[in-house]
């Protein structure tokens, strides 16, 4: 495999007559996205902690603009689109350049993407507390912001595909497949679900009605989870995990099989959010069947991730990055087993509308998305700022209080969810409802809401430790951080310049070269 020779500074000397091309990577944009990720992660989770407090302690509803109903969409939008969003952009901008051996297509587009996205987040943080919201879950932002999202996303897409276009590596590594799936599908989902008729500057009605609107919403809602919180993070895993473990990905064949089955099957599963509602029965059943099928492609990703560590498990002892990744991938595996289980009608009859769903999404969000992001940031920070991480010890504390925080959170919500489900359907001996007053089930789970708050605050505390660590690391970075320059052989003809890196048995996938 052709390993590009890293050059310390950007000095494209003697480029013209050489067989080598010298170019630089844009790491500044990655630094920005990393910083934005940690700031918005803190903000989004702080709002999460506040609404977690509001449930057992309604006095924490601080007036019209800061009450639960308005802050809950702010929390979900902030953690999904601001925290996880900036995180995947950091991952994509860093890894795509290296996998393509090319600078991003356009620096200007990178900047438009970054600032446009931050502006969208700020506008969400203003409009949602003001009560401008469409009511559609994870698509609450009103139409002017929806249009801005579509525009910025298209800029991102052009920038990404432009980079693919001018790449210097013939084959696209598996991480890039997942980025492609992310970019095209999110565009389709966002536009499809947001079609609405404006009736005011910040008011619109969807063009869909009744059961159609519900089906479109959950086609979007479920696949936002699939293509915003799963596929880009799988791409992140495929790039950063082998890097951190210094091992090739376990199986090239498995990555092909699970990629195509995942993107094909995921899209069908949306109606499992609508079991026993007034949507057509066949649609909900189809959603359930495909959700159960989805278990295997999901575990394909988990297996490919965890087995990449074969022979390298001892490295976990010293690497907080690998610890984060392993816990993250394990939560991914658990959440993607739980998801198919929850989609089964008999389980769904109990679990739907309860806190069980809250446990499910948070094991995915805190465990998978959060820990993959933290692992990536701890791996990236020393490389982006060219100085060792300020404190490994603090990073280890982050890992442990974060892990315990997730466990407290999800165990509390499992208990609460199953309690609610059982109380709502409990009968007395005469066949009457045992708890006819709904509020009895509310009172019963309030202790669990406190435990959840403690778990959430621990997790948030971990993020604060990471921010301190990041800040201290950046403080001791060298004053000048020139873009890293690399030299690669010129790509001539159809062939790959230095072989494709696959071992002859077709089993292992080529690892990205260590920059």
């Amino acid at each position: 495999m052709s390993t590009p020779a890293a050059v310390a500074t950007a000095a494209p000397a003697a480029e013209s007559q050489s067989r080598f091309e010298v170019f630089t990577y844009d790491d500044q944009i990655v630094r920005w996205f990393v910083i934005a990720t940690s700031i918005w992660g803190f903000v989004g989770m702080l709002v999460g902690a506040l609404i977690a407090l509001q449930l057992p302690f309604p006095e924490a509803n601080l007036g019209e603009y800061l009450s639960f109903g308005r802050l809950r969409p702010l929390h979900t939008n902030a953690v999904i689109f601001a925290f996880a969003g900036n995180s995947i952009f950091a991952a994509i901008y860093y890894s795509t350049q290296r996998l393509c051996k090319a600078r991003m297509f356009s620096d200007a587009m990178s900047k438009v993407h970054f600032w446009g996205w931050q502006a969208i987040i700020v506008s969400a943080a203003i409009t949602l507390p003001m009560g401008f919201n469409t009511s559609k879950e994870y698509a609450e932002l009103e139409w002017p912001i929806d249009i801005a999202i579509a525009v910025v996303w298209i800029v991102f897409a052009v920038n990404f595909f432009g980079t693919l276009w001018k790449r210097r590596e013939k084959h696209m590594y598996v991480a890039l497949w997942f980025y492609i799936a992310t970019i095209v599908t999110v565009a389709v989902l966002h536009i499809g679900n947001s079609l609405a008729l404006p009736v005011g500057l910040f008011k619109s009605y969807p063009i869909y009605k009744g059961t159609q609107d519900a089906l479109v919403q959950w086609w979007y809602g479920h696949n936002a989870v699939a293509f915003f919180l799963t596929t880009p993070f799988l791409g992140l895993m495929y790039y950063f995990l082998p890097k951190a473990a210094e091992r090739p990905v376990f199986s090239y064949r498995l990555s092909i099989v699970h990629f195509w089955s995942l993107v094909f099957i995921y899209i069908w599963a949306g109606p499992h959010h609508l079991q026993y509602t007034s949507v057509p029965e066949w649609a909900a059943t189809l959603g359930m069947v495909f959700s159960v099928m989805l278990w295997m492609p999901s575990w394909g990703g988990m297996i490919n991730g965890l087995f990449t560590l074969r022979g390298a498990w001892h490295k976990l002892r010293d690497s907080v990055v690998l610890k984060m990744f392993v816990v993250g991938i394990t939560f991914y595996g658990m959440a993607t087993f739980e998801g198919p289980a929850l989609s089964v009608k008999t389980v769904n009859a109990l679990s739907h509308y309860t806190d069980w769903n809250i446990a499910h999404v948070h094991s995915g969000a805190l465990g998978w998305n959060g820990f993959m992001t933290f692992g990536m940031i701890y791996w990236l920070a020393p490389r982006l700022w060219r100085t060792p991480l300020w404190s490994q010890k603090l990073a280890n504390w982050h890992f442990w209080i974060g892990t315990v925080g997730i466990l407290l959170y999800v165990l509390a919500m499992y208990t609460s969810g199953i309690t609610q489900g059982l109380m709502w359907r409990a009968y007395d001996d005469a066949g009457r409802l045992l708890y006819p007053d709904f509020v009895e089930s509310v009172v019963q789970v309030i202790p669990m809401y406190w435990v959840r708050l403690i778990g959430g605050l621990m997790y948030l505390g971990g993020v604060v430790l990471m921010m301190v660590n990041l800040y201290k690391t950046i403080r001791k970075a060298p004053d000048e951080l020139p873009d890293p320059a690399v030299a690669v052989p010129r790509l001539t003809g159809a062939g790959s310049p230095g072989g494709d890196g696959a071992s002859g048995d077709g089993q292992s996938t080529p690892t990205p070269a260590l920059a």
Binding site: Q54, L55, E64, F68, G69, R70, P73, G131, F132, T134, S135, K170, M172, W177, I180, A181, V184, V188, L197, P198, V199, G200, K203, Y205, P206, K209, G210, Q212, D213, A214, L215, V216, Q217, Y252, I256, V263, F264, Y266, I267, H273, T277, A283, Y353, T354, I358, Q420, W424, A426, Y427, G431, R432, L433, P436, D437, F438, V439, V442, D500, A502, D505
Partner: protein
């Protein structure tokens, strides 16, 4: 298959063609999308509205938009599933025929509070006013946020006709007369509600406040479905009478006594295994 996967196999070639790869990905995601949506959109018109289904009145529409703005759907579902316990707890299960004018749908995904699809007529107007002002005054252990601003914020009547015109373009059958008379209609309905609240011993001068729109909307929920099941039904029987609301409210202000809970009466269906009524 071996040829497909091996080091220089077919898939390896696709990996070198981003455009082909992207097109194949789009095809992969569109198959499921088309198979699931095509039947629903092609036969979308086959779902006939309930014979009793009427579009929301202008005031109810305004109230529904307040419900959306406040994010009530984050904690309250509006979808009764066809289970015995839900039918006993809430009322008749939800059907597609009552949803055809719902845009956006407000089914929700979480019951931090109870389902509201059958709320209409369960409580007197005054109960809702008190409940919005301070949920603990009517439901002592409730964890719902208070919405006192609904009692002071002016109701925006000017926006209603534009919203109705928009909804008509989306297929909600509002007539020209209804749109032209939207403001008057909303004001009349608001005055009626405000007068009833006042006569029940509640605060006065609410006719031009958001709260009347919210009450109008909440009192409408499930009414069309109830009428479809029982054509003689003019309005659902209230579970809680107005004087009971006052009694509870007074008790809450004077915390000396044990507050009586306002419980919806237990449904008298004797055996959960009997038919899923209705």
């Amino acid at each position: 298959m071996k040829r497909f996967f091996r080091a220089n196999g077919a898939h390896r070639r696709i990996e070198g063609w981003p455009l082909v790869f992207t097109i194949l990905t789009v095809v992969a995601i569109l198959v499921g999308t088309v198979v699931e949506f095509a039947p629903i959109f092609l036969v979308g018109g086959a779902v006939q509205p309930l014979a009793t289904l009427e579009p929301y009145t202008p005031l109810e529409l305004a109230g529904r938009d307040v419900y959306i703005a406040e994010g009530c759907n984050n904690c309250h579902s509006q979808q009764v599933r066809p289970f015995q316990d839900e039918v006993m707890r809430y009322g008749p299960y939800s059907v597609a025929e009552e949803e055809v004018y719902e845009t956006p749908h407000l089914w929700g995904s979480k019951r931090t509070g109870p389902d509201l699809a059958r709320l209409g007529g369960k409580y007197p107007h005054l109960w809702h006013v008190r409940h919005m002002d301070n949920p603990r005054s009517t439901s002592p252990n409730s964890i719902m946020p208070p919405y006192p601003h609904m009692l002071t914020k002016p109701l925006d009547l000017d926006a209603i006709p534009g919203k109705m015109r928009g909804l008509r373009r989306l297929g909600i059958p509002y007539t020209d007369a209804q749109i032209a008379g939207a403001s008057q209609s909303a004001q009349a309905q608001a005055r009626e509600i405000a007068a009833e609240v006042e006569s029940q011993g509640g605060p006065g001068q609410l006719a031009d406040r958001e709260i009347t729109a919210v009450v109008a909307y909440l009192q409408r929920l499930g009414v069309d479905r109830a009428r479809a099941l029982d054509p003689d039904l003019d309005r659902a029987e209230p579970d809680v009478e107005a004087h009971e609301v006052e009694e509870v409210y007074d008790t809450m202000l004077d915390p000396g006594d044990e507050p009586p809970l306002l419980e919806p009466p237990v449904s008298e269906v004797p055996n959960p295994t009997t038919n899923l009524a209705p």
